[in-house]
Subunit: 295 residues, 2 copies
C-alpha cells in the first residue's frame, strides 16, 4: 500500500491505549494522515493538547468523528453505549468503526444496533497493557510482540477487517480472529478471573493484617507480590470489564471454585496423589507457556 | 565475635535452601568451621560431592549430626518426623537444632517430642526461594534482603535463639520473631494460598484450553503469566506444605472464597459501588507494599 492506511483516524478516548495508538501513528507515517483525539474531561483535553500527540483535539465527540474513515473507541467498555449514541449519526458511510475494549460480546451488543448503514464494525482487542492509565501512560511500542484479537461479525465487510488487521500488524501485533463468545471466555480465564482473584485476595489479606498486626504486609512473599502487581490496575476499567463480561467471568469463577474446593478437600483428607497431580498439572501448563514464549 | 559462629554445621538436605546455606558458609569465613551435608539419594550425594560446597558429605544421617553444634533441617517438611527419628539419639548436648521449613506448627509438632535433653530447638523460616530446586539451584546470596522468621518455643534457650538470629543476619536477612500459629496464618495468606490458587487456575485453564482449541494458552495475558510463574514450583515441597499447614490454609481459602463470592455477587447484580470499593482496596494494599519496598 502507498500512503497511510487511514486518511483521518479518530480516537474516542486517549488514555493508555488511545494515546499509545496516537503516538504510534505519529511515529510511523504509514498509519494515518490526520489523527483526531476526543476525550471527555476538560483537564484531559488540555493535557492531550500539551502532550501534542494528536493533530486535532476535539471536545465534541460528534464533531470528532465527522469525516473520519476510521474511528477507534478507546474508552472503558461501560461507556460504549453512551458514546455510540452521540457519534452514530455522524459516522460517514464507508467509515470503519473499531475499538480496543477488553470485552467483545458487550461491545457488539452496545454498538451493532446503532450502526448506520455503510459503516463497518470490526471489534478488536489488543492484549497489551500496563498497570498505568491516562494520556501520559501511553507509548508507541505498547503493542509490539503482543496479540490482537479481532472478533469480526458474521457477514461483515472483509476489506474493513483486512484494514484493521493491517493496522495492528503495523503496530507490531500478531493478529488472530475468533468469535466474540470464545474471546470472552478466553480472556475471562487468562485475565479477568486472575484480576478478580487478585483484588479479592488483597482484601482477604488486609482483613488478616489487622489480626496479625500488619505482619501480612511485612512478609508478603513473592507469591503475594505477583497478585498485588495485578491488583494495581484502573478502577473504572476493571469495574466495566467485570460488569460487561459477567457471564463468562461468573462461569470461570464457578469452575475455578469447584477446582479449588477439590484441591482443598484433598488437603483436608491427606490425599497426596491428588495434590501432586494438581501441582504437576500446573507445572506442565507453565512449560507449555514457556514453549510458546509467553512466559 | 571472633571465629566462626558454629564449629561444625550439619545440613540435613542440600537442595535449593541447604546448598545455598553451604555456599554462603564457604564464601564467608565467619559462619562455620566445617560444613557437613547429608542427603538421601545416592545420586544427590554424588552431585553434592561434585559441586564441592560441603567439607564433608555424609550418607548416613545419624553420623552426619554427630559432633555438630548446629544442625539445620533443609528437607521438605513432610520428611521431618522420619529424619528426626534417625538423628535425635545422635544429637550432642548443647547442640542447636534449627530448620528452614515453610510451615512452623507442624515442625514443632514433629520435632519437639523427640528432642533430647540439652538440645535447643529454634524453628526458622527464611522467606526466600526461587522456582528451582536441588543442589545445583542454590546460591550464596539467596537470603540477602529477605526476611527470616523465627518461631522460638516459649521458655526456649535465649543464647541459642540469638545465635540462629545472628546466623541469618550474616546471611543478609532481616530477622523477625513471632509465634508459630501467627507465622502459619501469615504464610498461608501470602504464600500458600496464592500457590494453591495458581496450581488450581492452571488446571481450570487447561480444561478450557481443550474447548477453545488452545486459545487460552496462546493468549495467556500478563495476569495469567504471574500465576503460572508461581505454579512452576517443586511438587514434593508443595504437597508437604499444603498437608502440614492444613488448618491455616483451609481457613484462608474459606475466607478468600467468601470474599470472592461477595465480589461475584456484586458482579451478578451490577453493584458498581461494591466492585469499585474492592478494586480500590487492592490498589491501597499494593501501595502499602510498595511503601514497604516489598513489591
Ligand atoms: N489498560 C489495559 O491494560 C488495557 C488492555 C487492553 C484493552 N484495554 C481497553 O482499552 C480501553 C481503554 O483503556 P485504557 O487503559 O486506555 O484506559 P485509560 O487510560 O483510563 O483511558 C480511558 C480514556 O477514556 C476516556 N473516558 C473514560 N470514561 C469515559 C466516558 N464515560 N466517556 C468518554 N470518554 C471516557 C478517558 O478520558 P477522560 O479522562 O476525559 O475521562 C480516557 O481518555 C478500555 O476499554 C479497556 O478495556 C485496556
Ligand atoms: N524453595 C523455596 O522457595 C523455599 C523457601 C523457604 C523455605 N523452603 C523450605 O526449605 C526446605 C527445603 O526446600 P528446598 O527448596 O531446598 O527443596 P529441594 O531443593 O527440593 O531440596 C530438598 C532436599 O531435601 C532432601 N530430601 C527430600 N526428601 C527427603 C527425605 N524424605 N529424607 C531426607 N532427605 C530428603 C533432598 O535430597 P534427595 O535429592 O536426596 O532426596 C534435597 O537435598 C523445605 O522444607 C521448604 O519448605 C523452601
Amino acid at each position: 500500500m502507498s500512503g497511510p492506511l487511514f486518511r483521518r483516524l479518530c480516537l474516542i478516548g486517549a488514555g493508555l491505549i488511545g494515546s499509545s495508538i496516537a503516538r504510534l501513528a505519529r511515529e510511523r507515517g504509514d498509519i494515518a494522515g490526520t489523527v483526531v483525539a476526543h476525550t471527555r474531561k476538560p483537564e484531559t483535553l488540555a493535557r492531550i493538547r500539551e502532550l501534542g500527540f494528536a493533530d486535532v483535539v476535539e471536545e465534541d465527540a460528534a464533531r470528532a468523528v465527522e469525516g473520519a474513515d476510521c474511528v477507534i473507541l478507546c474508552v472503558p467498555v461501560g461507556a460504549y453505549a453512551g458514546v455510540m449514541a452521540q457519534i452514530a449519526p455522524h459516522l460517514a458511510p464507508g467509515c470503519i468503526l473499531t475499538d480496543v475494549g477488553s470485552t467483545k460480546g458487550s461491545v457488539i451488543r452496545d454498538l451493532a444496533p446503532l450502526l448506520p448503514p455503510g459503516v463497518h464494525l470490526v471489534p478488536a482487542h489488543p492484549m497489551a497493557g500496563t498497570e498505568h492509565s491516562g494520556p501520559d501512560a501511553g507509548f508507541a511500542t505498547l503493542f509490539e510482540g503482543r496479540y490482537t484479537i479481532l472478533t469480526p461479525l458474521p457477514g461483515g465487510d472483509r476489506a474493513a477487517q483486512d484494514k484493521v488487521a493491517e493496522f495492528w500488524r503495523r503496530a507490531g501485533s500478531t493478529v488472530e480472529s475468533m468469535d466474540a463468545a470464545t474471546h470472552d471466555k478466553v480472556v475471562a480465564i487468562v485475565s479477568h478471573l486472575p484480576h478478580l482473584i487478585a483484588f479479592t485476595i488483597c482484601g482477604t489479606a488486609d482483613d488478616l493484617a489487622e489480626e496479625t498486626r500488619e505482619a501480612v504486609l511485612r512478609f508478603a512473599a513473592s507469591g503475594f507480590r505477583d497478585f498485588t502487581r495485578i491488583a494495581a490496575s484502573d478502577v473504572d476499567m476493571w469495574r466495566d470489564i467485570f460488569l460487561n463480561n459477567r457471564d463468562a467471568l461468573l462461569e470461570m469463577l464457578a469452575r475455578f471454585t469447584e477446582d479449588s474446593h477439590a484441591l482443598a478437600r484433598a488437603v483436608r483428607w491427606g490425599q497426596s496423589d491428588f495434590i501432586e497431580d494438581r501441582i504437576r498439572r500446573g507445572r506442565r501448563i507453565r512449560r507449555g507457556l514457556i514453549e510458546r514464549k509467553q512466559a
